[in-house]
Each structure stands twice: as structure tokens, then as C-alpha cells.
């Protein structure tokens, strides 16, 4: 399914603060329903690239959830204000307009596509990266795919993904385990500690790991899975100007040399497609 050609104006239908983050919904009257893992390029229609200054480029944001809405579809996004663009997106209020291009990029695959013997899914999310796992969880649950979820965040002020994830179907997921770096909920430590324990269990070998989060977490997930020959798919992020293959800015290194563009060859990559997730 192709994205509609060009950008379009969409209105914000609702917005709320959530665990230190911002969640807002856009009403899209034109686009196809996005798949889990896909993203949009977003720019506020006002106070964006006006009279010079920043923000200037649109921002690539993964869709966190979608659903039917009057005369179109609703698109939910989870935003953490970390710079001029995301700060502006966090300031959007109901009725504001946003330039939207998408849905863009590829999507997570089903476990059976990733591995013929796969029986279920393990979702591993960190911080703002929990967003695309919410729509993925609902989609898998609707398809009857067994799944477990491991979610981690630094502290209460970075927990907005949890509420969003729970809203994607509280009773559909038998096992959601939490890890927090400050220990205020769940395991005191990293979410990858929980993944290690799970991968060393009996049945994890038949699962596919789906992950999104900060680069250091993704690299830990990638290497834990690679060491145990567990297939994994990582939703990655990279500075991106256009989202449709034009700028060549969003590349990540491939294992055999050369680079791949995350906007058109990602943002979801299989662990073996990349050399490593580079992080500071």
C-alpha cells in the first residue's frame, strides 16, 4: 500500500500528558491504515519554519496506535520533548493542524514470517520506544499470536509508553513485565536483564523478539538475540530530513559494508541486517 503522494494537513483531535510524555491524535481523512512499525513525518502547520529558525525539518515519528474515526482514521503519536521539533509537537492542542506525510517505511513482520518455527512474540520496549509496540501488540493479539512484553523506563517521568501500551488491550497480554532504572516499579534495572532471563528459559528459542528503544538498549537486544540465534526485529531511529528516500541522511551501516536508509529500507530491521546499533 503506497502512501498518498505529498503532505497533507490533519487536525489534532485530542492530546494529553502521559507519564512525562505527550500523546496526541490526528484525524487523517486520506491515508491508508498504517502497519505496526511504520512512521509519519510531522510538522506543525504553525510556528514551524516560520521567519527562519527551528524547527525547520519535519520529524519522523512512529505511529503508536490507530483506529477508525469519523470520515477517516485516528493516528496516535507518543512524543517526548527533547528539542525544538518535539517541543513544538508537545505543544499541539485540539484543533491545531499538522502537516503529515505517510505512512512511511516498512512494518514489523509476523513471527512466522521471521522464522518458520516461531510460536510467539516477545516485545521489548524502552522509554519512548514503547510507542510502536502498542500498535504491534494490539495487531498480534487480534491475530491470536501469543506474546509477552518486557517494558523498561528510567523513572516515572519517562513512563508515558506504559499507559499507551496498556490502552492497547489490557487483558489481551498475559505477561507484561516492567523494569525501571530507579526501581520504583518492577525489576530494578534494565529491561534487557528481563530479556536475558527470558531467553534462557525453556520456550524462548521459539519466539521472535520485537524491540524499540534507545540505541544502547537495542544493541543489547540485538546481541543477546544474536548470541542465542533468536530472530529479532528492531525499530530504529536516525536523523531523517525527508522520510521518503530523498536526503540519504538516515543511514545505518550494514554488516558487509555500505549503508542502508532507514526511511525506505527500515525503520524495522532484522538483527542480522545491521552490523550493530551504534550508540554513544
Amino acid at each position: 500500500m503506497n502512501a498518498p503522494f505529498g503532505r497533507r494537513l490533519c487536525a489534532v483531535s485530542e492530546g494529553r500528558d502521559s507519564g512525562g510524555y505527550r500523546v496526541f491524535s490526528l484525524l487523517d481523512h486520506e491515508g491508508p491504515e498504517p502497519l505496526p512499525g511504520q512512521f509519519y513525518m510531522l510538522a506543525a502547520a504553525s510556528r514551524w519554519a516560520e521567519r527562519g529558525g527551528r524547527p525547520f525539518l519535519p520529524r519522523a515519528i512512529s505511529v503508536a496506535e490507530t483506529g477508525p474515526a469519523a470520515d477517516g482514521i485516528r493516528l496516535d503519536f507518543l512524543i517526548e520533548g527533547v528539542g525544538p521539533g518535539t517541543d513544538r509537537l508537545c505543544a499541539l492542542r485540539e484543533g491545531d493542524e499538522v502537516w503529515l506525510t505517510g505512512p512511511l517505511g516498512n512494518a514489523f513482520s509476523e513471527p512466522r514470517q521471521a522464522s518458520p518455527r516461531a510460536a510467539g512474540a516477545i516485545l521489548v520496549g524502552g522509554g519512548i520506544g514503547i510507542a510502536p509496540l502498542a500498535i504491534l501488540r494490539r495487531t498480534f493479539a487480534e491475530q491470536g499470536i501469543p506474546l509477552r512484553a518486557l517494558l523498561g523506563f528510567r523513572n516515572e517521568a519517562h513512563s508515558g509508553g506504559l499507559e499507551l501500551f496498556c490502552a492497547s488491550g489490557g487483558d489481551l497480554c498475559p505477561e507484561v513485565r516492567l523494569a525501571t532504572e530507579d526501581g520504583h516499579r518492577g525489576h530494578h534495572g534494565y529491561v534487557t536483564d528481563l530479556l536475558l532471563t527470558m531467553l534462557e528459559g525453556d520456550d524462548a528459542q521459539s519466539a521472535v523478539v520485537y524491540s524499540c528503544g534507545p540505541p544502547a538498549m537495542l544493541e543489547a537486544v540485538r546481541s543477546l538475540c544474536a548470541e542465542r540465534a533468536v530472530p529479532c526485529e528492531l525499530a530504529m531511529e536516525s536523523p531523517m530530513a525527508c522520510g521518503f528516500g530523498a536526503c540519504f541522511g538516515c543511514v545505518v551501516p550494514k554488516p558487509d559494508g555500505g549503508y542502508m536508509r532507514l526511511c525506505v529500507d527500515g525503520p524495522v530491521v532484522r538483527g542480522e541486517q545491521i552490523a550493530e546499533v551504534t550508540h554513544a
Binding site: P4, F5, P55, F56, L104, A241, F244, A246, C247, V264
Partner: protein, 293 residues
Amino acid sequence: MPEFCGIGLRHPVINGSGTYDAIAARKVFGDELLADFPFSAFVSKTITPEPRAGNAPRRIWETPAGMINSIGLPNKGLEGFLAEDLPQLAELPVPLIVSVMGTSREQFTRLVEGVAEREEVAAIELNVSCPNVHSGLIVGEQPTETAALLQALRPLTAKPLIVKLTPNVADPAAVAIAAEEGGADAVSLINTLKASAFDPATGAPALAAGHGGLSGPAVRPVALQQLRAVTAAVSVPAIGMGGISSGADAAEFIAAGAALVAVGTESFRDPRAGSRIAAELQSGRAEIVPSPT
């Protein structure tokens, strides 16, 4: 309908080289891209003799009203381009201009000969913002190097040769004059301005390459002055570019002497910016408005 070097065009808005991957865009947006193609001619990204992977990331950095890039000319090389990309680009509904770059006269000769013999190619743009391996000098920064290169390439083809001028010189008009004297059919300007940024979080250069090229509305007044100086100095047509994001911006470039205008960075923000700017230009909404003081 504008005519450029004997090529009839629907409107005066084309793309800057390296700012639109029409093959990738068609995969993303489907054939709707062809039905309303944003540009009246398509300029390919720069092709080099051998394949290039491009620079290590980080490659881009947002700046006030613009961005710095150090992409590093990733491309499939001449053979890969001719075999894989050219047939797909030939399906675009507009004339095709192929951008080439070599590091010696011999490399440029190979590129121009390889590209010019293909009937799908309407014109060739020479990216001269690179060092000559023999002299160590950036060809496009030296009038003598530029003239010598054109004199070597001119006999190879009757197709229009466009010289992409670098703005990183004291006197771009002198290079443009040399290009014209060497037999160039047109010039295009400006390429990106050399630029740096530092990551406030680390104090290290923001881009892996250490520096890159600035584009976007931030460079527009610089581009207009260089365009004005160049078009006053040569009689061949000029393609003007540098931060054009509206019909009004395009009208300024035409007022400064541009025969055509090119859109680059704005396409990143709006995939159909080319069509929008062309429509704004033609609707008369593009009158130059005095900037507020």
C-alpha cells in the same frame, strides 16, 4: 513554456542534484508520483565512475532555516547507474539531466562518454566541487581548471553541458566565465556552502565527516547575490537554486537572472514542493514582497 538549451519544459522548476531519489519516491508514493511529477526536468544524483557507499553517519544536522549535510555522494557507479537506474529514470515523464563527478579529466571523459551516448539523457551536469587527483585543486574553485576540463569534454557530445558552480569561492563569476569559454551550455548555482556545527551535548563536530554543506532558506540571500554576479558576467543560461521554498522565492531568483530554478531542501519538507512552487509562480501569487524590517 520555457525552453532550456533546446529542451522544452512544462514549467521553470526542476530539482537540485542529490535532493530527490525518484526511484525511491516511486516505491513510497506509487505511480501518483508520475501523474503529478513535481519537476519539469529531473536531475539525477551525482554519478561517479565507481560505486560509492557514502559517508559514515551522522550525515545531517538541522540548523536555523536549513540543514548541513555530508552525504558523500553514495551511488552505484557508472555501470550500475546505466544498467539499473537509468531505465527506471527513463520512465519519468520529464527530460533527464544526469549529474557526474570525476577526480580527473580521464574519469570525467569516461562518465560523459558513457552517459551522453544514452538517448534517455537530455543533458549532463558536471559536478566540479571535487579535487583533481593530479593537481590537488578543487576544479570548480579554479577558472583555469574549469576551462581546461570543459575544453576536454566539449568535443565528446553535442548534448548540453551544465556546470554546477561552487559557492565556496571569492569570485564565482570568474569560474562561470571560464566554463562558458570552455564551451559550457549553462551553469547552475549554488551548490551548498561549506559549514560546520558542533553537538551541544558532546562538544564534538555534529557530523561524522566534521563538516558538510549548508542548504535551505539560510543560504538564499547568498545564492541570489552569486546568481546576480554570474548572470551579469556570462550569456549562457543559469539554473538558480539555494533555499527556494515558495513561488515568491523562485520569482526572486528569476529576477536575479535565472532561466530555471531548482528546489532541493524544501522537497524534504514537502515531497510535492516543486509542483507547488511552479503553481505559485504561475498564479502570480509569487510577486516579490518586500521583507519586513
